[in-house]
């Protein structure tokens, strides 16, 4: 970035801070999740002066800001934006950046930095932001010259959005924000080293079509890459025309309507029994934007033993990483499917589909009911009936996350948002807030555990201040439930440091203290009333605490490292699988 073209005639001179703001406007940014501090004070000053077009949301913790940007990006398909100060402001975003990296979420994080001449001097609030985030960003820039600033912003959004999406960090030293130059937003990006293969090979697509035509027991295995590439519609058409059943990963939920008879729901560790049966018996897996991770495959050698594999993915480094791929189509997932569509006719899958239906009937998802105790699964089922697949459901990490994945039915892409790769407790509420800013037309439901919710509860008052009617569900089992489950199953029921009853806040008061509505249900017959009351609130978040049974466990389950064939479908004596 050493070449500086002379400014076009008439370009105005302005500060780096103003250039930054005008660049965001030129980029079409709608909302910025930010928190001020010394290194970026000039940006905030100019913000008050020039009143940019985007909305700035003052978050109460920078981690919340980063997750909010992720939620916004996942709900809208646009790039999320974060603005924080140097040092602690930057380090507070690290978890969110790592989360976005693992789940390929496009966000750009602008961090303040000490003046260039002080970098490396242990100056006040200095940290090596670029160094700290290097291994968790798709790319990063330190802007050393105000004349490079607009170009850096342009590049950052371009890189975050294209190819396999991911987080980009732009570090902005204070002197660069104070320096002046002419502003002109570049029309093009110049990145000679940045290539990605957008178009899969024709021959491979034809080969895939032939493999599909030959298969007796084909199965779509769909991941977050299909959602990210906006390929849900074409995927759905192909599956229905060719009569191929579909399973999705956690991040693939919503890419195919789960009320369709071809859907077998989620696969993997806490997937349905019938989805995993389908995988273990399929003779062809068509993996679409998925990466064969360990939570999906379990014990690698016994996974999908009869299947040939077609893999469609934008990222060449994910091909044949763990599992041999017979036909790899590297390129944009949507483009590849659009070209596959005319080649994929109806398959001879009637016998296979009958088998899949039989499996569904044999072992559906189930939990105990009717004893008067409130269980998380029941709450989620009632919520599903209430939302009818039309809400955006954001979840945290733990048992409630898996139950939500199991007991909701996702019908549309971008209606299920969660932290899958990094598994970040505290992700949920701020991400739901980001989604609510991005999709004001949708009802947003935030579903957390009692453990994870408090990790970013501070953002409640931000959502309240902006009048966002988020439906906030807290599944309170008074435990770090998922850890408790492992302790019960694999660690002789030593519940070491997972009991939260002494440290949980009063969630209703917590909600009220943050200017939200607080509600509580403790028995099954209170559930519908609480839901109705919450849905009646339209000007602020409604927090619903559901006090549920702590002993409940998530089943089915493939224990970590076990074979998918050894799935536990119901509670067994713990010694059965050690």
């Amino acid at each position: 970035m050493t070449h500086h073209a002379p400014p076009a005639n008439g370009a105005q001179r302005m500060s780096g801070a103003e250039i930054f703001l005008r660049s965001l406007d030129a980029e079409g940014v709608e909302v910025v999740f930010g928190h001020p501090g010394g290194a970026v004070i000039k940006i905030y000053d100019e913000m008050a002066r020039i009143q940019p077009n985007f909305k700035h949301v003052l978050v109460r913790h920078e981690q919340g800001g980063a997750h909010a940007a992720e939620g916004y990006a996942k709900a809208t398909g646009k790039v999320g934006t974060v603005l924080v100060t140097s040092g602690p402001g930057a380090t507070n975003t690290v978890t969110g950046i790592a989360d976005a990296y693992m789940d390929s979420v496009p966000i750009v994080v602008f961090t303040g930095q000490v003046p260039t001449q002080l970098i490396g001097n242990d100056a006040f609030q200095e940290c090596d932001t670029i160094g700290i985030t290097r291994s968790i960003t798709k790319h990063s820039f330190l802007v050393r010259d105000v004349r490079d600033l607009a170009q850096a912003v342009k590049k950052a959004y371009h890189i975050a959005r294209t190819g396999r999406p991911g987080p980009v960090v732009v570090d902005l030293p204070k002197d660069v924000l104070l320096a002046e130059t002419e502003f002109e937003y570049p029309k093009e990006v110049n990145l000679r080293g940045y290539r990605f293969k957008a178009r899969g090979d024709d021959a491979k697509i034809q080969r895939a079509a032939a493999m599909i035509a030959e298969a007796d027991k084909p199965l779509f295995y769909v991941g977050g890459g299909a959602v990210g590439a906006d390929a849900a519609d074409v995927l759905t058409r192909i599956a229905r025309t060719a009569r191929i059943p579909v399973t999705t990963t956690l991040h693939g939920l919503g890419a195919f309507p789960e009320d369709d008879e071809l859907s077998v729901g989620m696969l993997g560790m806490h997937g349905t029994w019938y989805a995993n049966m389908a995988v273990q018996n399929a003779d062809l897996l068509i993996a679409v934007g998925a990466r064969f991770d360990d939570r999906v495959t379990g014990k690698l050698e016994s996974w999908a033993p009869h299947a040939k594999i077609v893999h469609i993915d934008i990222d060449p480094s994910s091909i044949s990483k763990n599992v041999y791929v017979d036909c790899a189509i590297v390129g944009d997932v949507r483009d590849a499917l659009m070209r596959l569509e005319p080649l994929a006719g109806a398959c001879r899958t009637e016998a296979w589909l009958a088998q899949v239906q039989a499996w569904k009937a044999e072992c559906p998802l189930a939990y105990e009911q009717g004893d008067g105790r409130l269980r998380a699964q029941y709450v989620l089922e009632r919520l599903r009936r209430h939302t009818k697949g039309e809400a955006i459901v954001v979840t945290d990490v733990g048992q409630h996350q898996m139950w939500a994945a199991q007991y909701f039915q996702f019908l549309h892409a971008r209606t299920h948002i969660t932290s899958g790769g990094l598994g970040t407790m505290g992700f949920c509420f701020p991400a739901a807030m980001g989604a609510a800013f991005g999709r004001p037309d949708k009802t947003v439901v935030s579903i957390s555990g009692d453990g994870g919710f408090v990790m970013n509860a501070q953002e409640l008052s931000v959502a309240a201040a902006h009048g966002l009617p988020i439906k906030v569900v807290i599944i309170n089992n008074k435990f770090l439930g998922m850890v408790r489950q492992w302790q019960e199953l694999f660690h002789d029921e030593r519940f070491s440091h997972t009991d939260l009853s002494d440290t949980n806040p009063d969630f209703v008061k917590l909600a009220e203290a943050h200017h939200c509505v607080g509600l509580r249900a403790e028995t099954p017959d209170e559930v519908d009333g609480v839901i109705r009351e919450a849905w009646a609130v339209s000007d602020r978040p409604a927090v619903m605490e559901f006090r549920v049974a702590k002993e409940e466990m998530v089943f089915p389950m493939v224990p970590a490292g076990a074979s998918t064939d050894e799935m536990i479908t119901k509670r067994l004596t713990p010694n059965a699988f050690v």
Partner: protein, 192 residues
């Protein structure tokens, strides 16, 4: 050597579970790899490349960097040892870096490699001639001399440098500085 014929972790685990032998060409072996990378001439770019290897636990035996004919582009030569399959994967990840323009694993190609070594040895009147004779055989040069030490410069493939260092050991080497390898694909191949 190419990863194409080697088995994925799943295939290897399956064969083992079946009690089948894994063929020599199927298993990925540890090999020395020489990888040439063209990248943006910036410290951040260099860091990202090295980080990728570090993240996968590779020891970099040598890394050299220098400008190319275009001062905005540098060329890195990386010598490392690892399983071909994982190296191929790292190379794909390198290709993914925005600052990387080109990646080439020279190991599977015909290539020339050179390294430069400076080596300081003590000498006395009774071994001076012997030392210089050895140096001559290795086509080295004397680049510095004092009343009791000489500094030699030799260049060549790493093997030759190793051999020369081996020869010098018995004189009691005082100091060695090696440049690390630089390498380039041969332009013309004869005979096929």
């Amino acid at each position: 050597m190419s990863e194409q014929n080697t088995l994925t972790p799943q295939q290897i685990l399956r064969k083992k579970a079946q009690g089948e032998a894994i063929g020599p060409g199927e298993q990925t072996h540890r090999h020395r790899h020489i990888i040439a990378v063209l990248l943006e001439n910036s410290i951040g770019a260099l860091n990202r490349v090295v980080n990728l290897f570090a993240a996968r636990g590779f020891n970099l035996e040598s890394v050299t960097v220098g400008e190319t004919d275009d001062p905005s582009i540098s060329r890195m030569t990386i010598a490392t040892t690892g399983e071909s399959r994982i190296i191929a994967q790292v190379n794909r990840q390198l290709n993914r870096l925005i600052d990387v323009l080109e990646v080439e694993d020279l190991t599977s190609e015909e290539y020339v490699e050179r390294e430069l070594c400076l080596l300081k040895v003590p000498y006395a009147s009774d071994n001076r001639v012997e030392l210089l004779d050895t140096l001559k055989i290795f086509q080295g040069k004397v680049v510095d001399v004092t009343t009791n030490t000489m500094t030699f410069e030799i260049t060549g493939p790493a093997k030759k440098i190793n051999a020369f260092i081996g020869m010098m050991k018995r004189y009691g080497v005082e100091e060695i500085a090696r440049s690390g390898r630089v390498a380039m694909k041969r332009a013309l191949l004869f005979g096929d």
